[in-house]
Symmetry: C2
Subunit: 335 residues, 2 copies
């Protein structure tokens, strides 16, 4: 089936583009140095494609993501790069030998939760500037000591420079990354262990301090990341259909804000200016090149933020040269 014959709205991924993105990222972060973040796509078949390309390490933001990867046979080295207090499900997977699972801790409470949940290995999560979880850098050493006293293996540290990954000016992004990583490296000296985990798609070639890169958006990309001029291409869009036009050339397609992550703003349509997104509609106007739409026309809607876009869909329609060749369920969404 051609992608333009899909019932709409439909989430599509171009497999060739995805593979090119993976190859580019893999050239800088080979093998286990790349810890792909599953939150960006929430799909075990997509994760399997990444593992098959030689990158078997993953991180995730939810227990469901980690557990799903483990049950899918992708449990070689999984990191829950987030704090949670309920870890029994993951501890049981470790106990049964189904996965190696490391979790982030940033407080005595999360250390205790890891221990109580049957988790054996942790990373100390360090706040390097993003106001979201992570202990203070100067507390990392004592937290690691506490974890070790509780019988946990401390593999190292993680810290995410999420406050700078989206900075459009490359020099400013580089300086921000350096400042953040100075904090992480100092914390690592106090904590010990082999792992320094951090970074993201936006700092993939700027972050020279981490031992493994936590990046997920590089695979599918979105219009927000595309503005940074990275060598990754947008591989995923929402296929829609024009359902209404007016005589001024404006048009409405059936891809609304329930099919798109809206926190980074409106989506993009080639040849158009997006005027309005509502629940199941996007209204757009010609951008001046004379394009006119007709009812029934196919339209590609490019999300501003891919992660929350994918989370609204239950499957990827996998395409090669415009033909749908596979369906990948988005099987790790929800909680």
């Amino acid at each position: 089936m051609h992608v333009e014959d899909l019932p709409t709205p439909a989430l599509v991924v171009d497999l060739d583009v995805l593979r090119r993105n993976l190859a580019v990222m893999g050239s800088r972060w080979p093998g286990r140095a790349l810890r792909t973040h599953v939150k960006a796509f929430k799909s075990t078949p997509l994760a399997r494609a990444v593992a098959a390309a030689g990158h078997p390490s993953f991180c995730a933001a939810t227990v469901r993501e980690v557990a799903g990867l483990a049950r899918a046979g992708l449990g070689e080295d999984l990191l829950l790069a987030n704090e949670t207090l309920h870890l029994h499900e993951l501890g049981e997977l470790v106990e049964r030998g189904l996965a190696r699972i490391t979790v982030a801790v940033d407080s005595p409470e999360t250390v205790d939760a890891a221990r109580a949940g049957g988790i054996r290995e942790v990373l100390v999560d360090v706040n390097v500037g993003l106001p979201r979880c992570g202990c203070r850098p100067e507390e990392a050493g004592s937290l690691a000591d506490l974890a070790r006293r509780r019988g946990l293996e401390v593999r190292g540290v993680m810290g995410y420079e999420g406050h700078v990954v989206g900075t459009e000016d490359r020099a400013r992004r580089a300086r921000g990354t350096e400042r953040a990583m100075e904090l992480l490296v100092a914390a690592h000296e106090a904590v010990g262990g082999e792992v320094v985990s951090g970074g993201g798609t936006g700092t993939w070639d700027l972050n020279t301090w981490v031992s493994e890169l936590q990046a997920g958006s590089y695979l599918l990309m979105d219009t927000a990341y595309t503005r940074l001029g990275l060598p990754f291409e947008q591989a995923s869009w929402v296929q829609g259909t024009v359902i209404s036009v007016d005589r001024d050339g404006g048009a409405v397609a059936d891809v609304g804000l329930k099919a798109l992550g809206m926190d980074h703003g409106d989506p993009t349509i080639e040849g158009a200016v997006v005027l309005l997104c509502s629940d199941e509609h996007v209204t757009f106007l010609p951008d001046g090149d004379g394009t006119r739409w007709r009812v029934g026309d196919p339209v590609r809607v490019w999300p501003a933020h891919v992660d929350p876009t994918v989370a609204y869909h239950d499957r990827f329609h996998v395409s090669i040269e415009e033909r749908v060749v596979d369906i990948w369920p988005v099987d790790l969404r929800g909680w």
Copy 2:
């Protein structure tokens, strides 16, 4: 189970508040005069509660919503208040006698699609100011004529004053509604039929022109609608857990933008200022009253826009006086 013992994040609905909202709306729009919009909650058990209270008419924004209601035995009078070109699934439900289904049309193409899909009844969708679907008011009569020539029953018109339902100033909202409804009434004169369908939660007591009100948000409400000073209360929130705190009193809970509709902005937390939402986190600061959070504390996160919030969740946890008494699947999401 107490709502604060739920695994988080968890979508909760307070059944008493929901029932009060329904009673208030039903006092102004009794019986079939209220056509509840299912897009706001996407759940057949919730729709069943509305029908049981004497309001068996529903409208919806997607084929899946309409088909799901029909298959759940809620097909007495369903309106697809949206344009679509693929209606065979709904036509088959009509053919099998499972539902009365009316669809909106705004163009010759959508008239033809209704006919081709086996739909028998339509409303002419009229653009009354919102830049989203609907024919021009002056074209409504000829479109109705076309539909009748195609053998379709034209039940009347619909038009949604969505561009004014959120206007905070009540007098301005009233004037905008009047202007929009003048267009709809004129179109109705040209179209004929018994139905004049329109309105929404924000204009529930201002729109005196429609014969039936299309409202959905009144049941669950959200912080955006609450600013209008309507007599409906927020019945739904996302229950979260504090997973990280810092020594300044800031806190992070496990309710992020994948658990919230973000198009109307950040959610609200009582006693706090929300600083940042990311995929699985909300970071918030004390608002000055001295509240301090601890890791493990329960927190209620009130969405700014309920419709796209619900669409991220697979179930409502139904509560009465803080106890979970039922689970309602969000079974009509997706496409």
